[in-house]
Structure formats: C-alpha cells, structure tokens
C-alpha cells in the first residue's frame, strides 16, 4: 500500500508532505496504517470533503491511497474531516513531522 499525504494552510501556510510505502515499514507500523485506512473506510469517502469557505488558519489535507488495484484521493480540512478519518490524518501528520530530519 502506498499513501501520499499533504497538509497545507495553517497559521504558517507551510506545506508538510510525506509518501509512505507500507512495504518499507516494520510489520507493526504497516498493520497500524492498514487498520487506520480500513477504519476510515477510505475508499468509500467522497473525493472532496470541505466546507464551502475556509476557516481562518486551519489545515487542509490531501490524501491519496493506492492499495492493489484501488486508488483514491480525498481532499478535506481540519474542520470537515469525518471522525473516522481523523486518526489516519493524525498518524500521517506525525510521520511527516517526525521524518523531517531523516
């Protein structure tokens, strides 16, 4: 499984991005991400999940997941992301932030 994650906006307006290939992770890390994608029902989510107008200084997200022959992109925002997608966003944000120096 491959995941592309992008975060933009926020007070700083800085882009944060990471690409994760679960084949390169430990089996525990890979399983965790698989579970989060599953519990988000990621492939059933609409492509755009955003409010009509942005709210000041909050983040926007773009996630693309490739799994087997499945491929799906979801664009959402901090205030509009459904509850079951939030743990995946939180995990990927942490991965992106903690890999800045690697």
């Amino acid at each position: 499984m491959r995941i592309n994650f992008e975060r933009t906006g926020g007070f700083m307006g800085m882009r944060l991005a990471v690409e994760v290939q679960t084949e390169r992770l430990t089996s525990t890390e890979a399983e965790e991400l698989e579970t989060l994608v599953e519990s988000a029902r990621f492939f059933d989510l609409p492509a755009i999940l955003k409010p009509q107008t942005g709210s000041a200084d909050r983040f926007q997200y773009k996630l693309t997941v490739e799994r087997g022959d499945q491929f799906h992109t979801v664009e959402t925002s901090e205030s509009a992301a459904p509850e079951n997608l939030q743990p995946l966003i939180e995990r990927l944000t942490y991965v992106a932030r903690s890999q800045r120096f690697t």
């Binding site: 007070f11 307006g13 800085m14 882009r15 107008t53 709210s55 000041a56 926007q60 205030s79």
Partner: protein, 397 residues
C-alpha cells in the same frame, strides 16, 4: 467588468448611510437604517448599527470591560477544555496560560485604546482562549468563537523540534483575535485575494499589538510575525516579515519564505485557499511602507486608516485594488484629502505595484464603476509600471 460583479450587494456605502442616519430626515433615516441592517447581514454581524450614535437603544453600548478566560485542552482536541484562569485571577504556573491571558489583554487594549472598539465584536465579547490543544499541534487558529493554541513540536525528541508553543509570540495572539474582528466586520472571504487581505489584516493588527505592548515606533519595530516560534534548529527570524516579505526564513528543512512583496511576484496557487498566507505579503508590505512613511507609532494613524477601512469600507469579496482605494479614501476622510497620511497610503500601495485611482478616492468603490468606465473612455490609460525603489527586490525563486 469585475467591478459590477462585486457591487451586486452594495447600494450606498455604509459610511454614507451612517451620515444619513445622523443628519437626514426621518424618512431618510428610516431608509438608511434598513439598508444598513441588510448590509450588516453581509458584514457577518451588524457593527454598523451598534456603533451608530443617537439611535435609541442600540446606542447603549456595553460597558468596556475585559473578560478573559483561559482553558487547558490537556493535549486533547475537545474545546474549550478545563478552565484554568479567569479575568483578574493570579498568574498561573503555566507559561502558556499566562501568555494567552496577557496577549489577549494587550489585543483588547489596542482595539479599545486606539480605535474605541470594545472587544472582537465591538460589544464586549468575552475573550476565550484554549492552550495545549492537540498533540504535536504546530498551529493556532480562531474557530469563530475563541482562540486555540497548540504547543508546536512538544511530542518530538528535543533535537527534532522546530516549533515552540504558539502562545510564545504575542503577534500570533493578536493575529487570531483580529480574525474575529474581521469576521464581525468586512467578513472577508477566506480564499484568493479577499482571503489574503483577511490574513494581512490579522498580521497588521497582530504586529500592532506587539508594537504597542513594547511601545515601539514604526522605525523601531521588527515587523516580524511569529518571532520566537522557531526553535534554534531553524534558520529564520519568524514566519513572515512585513518589512521584507520573503526573507523571514530560509532553511534546509522548511525551505524558503514564499511571500511576495510586490504584485509582479503574486503567487497563483490552489493550495492554502489560493495562497492566503503567501500573497498576504503584498498588502502587509503596503501597510509597512505606509506606516514608515507616516512615522511615529504605527497603530495611531496607519493602523486607524486600516481599521476604519476594515470596519466600514471592505466587503467579503474585496480584492487588493479595492482595498487600496478604500484605505486611500479612509485616509482622506480621517486626515484630509492630499494630507501627508493620504499620500503615505498611496506610496504604500505604489510600492507593491498597486496604483491608487485619480481623485481623492471619494468616487471609488461601488458607486464608481460606471464613472470609472466613463473616465477610462476619456482619459489616457495610466501606465501600470511605475519606477519604485521600494518595489525592487532580488528574485528569490
């Protein structure tokens, strides 16, 4: 033609309606009040009405009292969290709590002392802030009702941290509260040029909160937004520079500050709601040039011009050019047509590549679209390019 599009909700500008309410006949007053209440709906809330003098119960403004409350989210995301400090209570042992308390106090004071505005809504709204929001939350925001601050990279090992807590910088606090003021006034749409203006207004008043708290003149101020937010691992002085947009940071991990200082470098992007935190560099720099040109304390005159513009003259769809005309008009009304202050505003926008129209600005705006069109038929078109040393800077990317 774009003038016609943004004029659809605008019949007579609010400041003219105010004059009619103050001085007009009974019938004129009634009609003006009705118009103002309609336009007030577009301005998020009805500031125009609450500030109107001599119109009965509405004039009974709330007594100006600061009411701050600080909450602790305990690294969760449930708002507002646990109450940890109320107005008048002794300082906490938690530095973030005290920074949020003091910073929102300085912001309240600036708007009251300099612009006679009683809190965010102009009507004594409570100032609620939540600190310790989320884990590794490298952000601060205004959610429509309150301020929210994360602790940056507190969840990472110390040698990997690049962001400190977001209350560390008083202008960040002023920035977030000013989003609230914008919400209650022009309600600038949070995308494209209106969005960049929305961001710029928050940077302007955020910086002015800092300048007033430090008693700094325009010359003395650093004009940096978010000084102190970066840890020592980052090569940068802050998030944005109003004095020199595009120069706040240049770092191997974070990249380079992408802000333009001039229209020729305007960034077209779909990210960040159309680059609202990027292109804000242009109006930010126009304000900086104006404030330096006027001299003294920036919140007194330049800040007042921008505040009156935000309160009375902008609407949700206003673009840079319309904002430029509106500040010029406000400066003319406040300090006189052709006054040094009005010329400073013109110089400020000229320095970022935005020309102020001819005349004193009174003919600009909603009513001027047909007039501007007619003028354009009879007057030679002004060159869009104008020499300006302020405007020139090296290409960074």
């Amino acid at each position: 033609m774009s003038n016609h599009i943004y004029c659809y909700q605008c019949i007579v500008p609010p400041h003219m309606l105010r004059k009619i309410v103050e001085n007009g006949s009974t019938a004129q007053r009634a009609r003006a009040m009705e118009s103002l209440s309609v336009s007030g709906q577009f301005r998020g809330q009805r500031q125009a009405l609450t500030e109107m003098p001599r119109i009965g119960p509405l004039a009974a403004a709330a007594e100006a009292v600061k009411q701050r409350t600080i909450y602790d989210a305990g690294f969760g995301t449930t708002l507002p969290g646990v109450k940890v400090r109320e107005e008048g209570a002794a300082p906490s042992s938690d530095v973030a709590v005290n920074e949020a308390y003091d910073g929102s106090g300085y912001t309240y004071d600036l708007f009251l002392d300099a612009y006679q505005r009683n809190s965010i809504d102009g009507n004594g709204m409570r100032l609620n802030s939540t600190v310790h929001y989320g884990r590794g939350y490298d952000n601060a925001f205004w959610n429509g009702q309150q301020m929210v601050y994360g602790d940056g990279d507190e969840d990472l090992p110390p040698d990997q941290r690049i962001f400190n807590r977001f209350t560390i910088s008083i202008d960040v606090i002023g920035h977030e509260l000013s989003h609230g003021v914008t919400q209650y006034e022009a309600a600038l749409a949070y995308a494209g040029q209106p969005g960049a203006l929305n961001e710029s207004m928050s940077d302007v008043f955020g910086s002015l909160v800092k300048q007033e708290s430090l008693n700094q003149t325009a010359q003395e101020a650093d004009w940096i937004i978010g000084a102190g937010l970066f840890t020592s691992r980052v090569n940068g002085v802050g998030i944005r520079s109003m004095k020199a947009p595009g120069t706040a940071y240049d770092d191997p991990i974070l990249g380079k500050d992408p802000q333009p200082a001039h229209m020729k470098d305007y960034v077209n992007t779909i990210e960040d709601n159309g680059g609202v935190h990027i292109n804000s560099g242009i109006p930010n720099h126009a304000f900086y040039i104006t404030a330096i040109e006027i001299g003294g304390y920036a919140w007194e005159k330049a800040g007042r011009i921008w505040y009156v513009t935000l309160r009375d003259k902008l609407q949700s769809s206003s673009n840079f050019s319309q904002a430029a005309q509106a500040t010029y008009q406000a400066a003319g009304e406040l300090y006189g047509v052709g006054s040094p202050e009005q010329l400073a505003v013109q110089k400020g926008w000229d320095g970022v590549g935005i020309q102020i129209g001819t005349g004193n600005g009174e003919n600009q705006g909603c009513l001027a679209a047909p007039l501007t069109f007619l003028q354009s038929l009879f007057q030679p078109k002004k060159s869009m390019k104008k020499e300006s040393s302020e405007a020139e800077r090296p290409e960074h990317w």
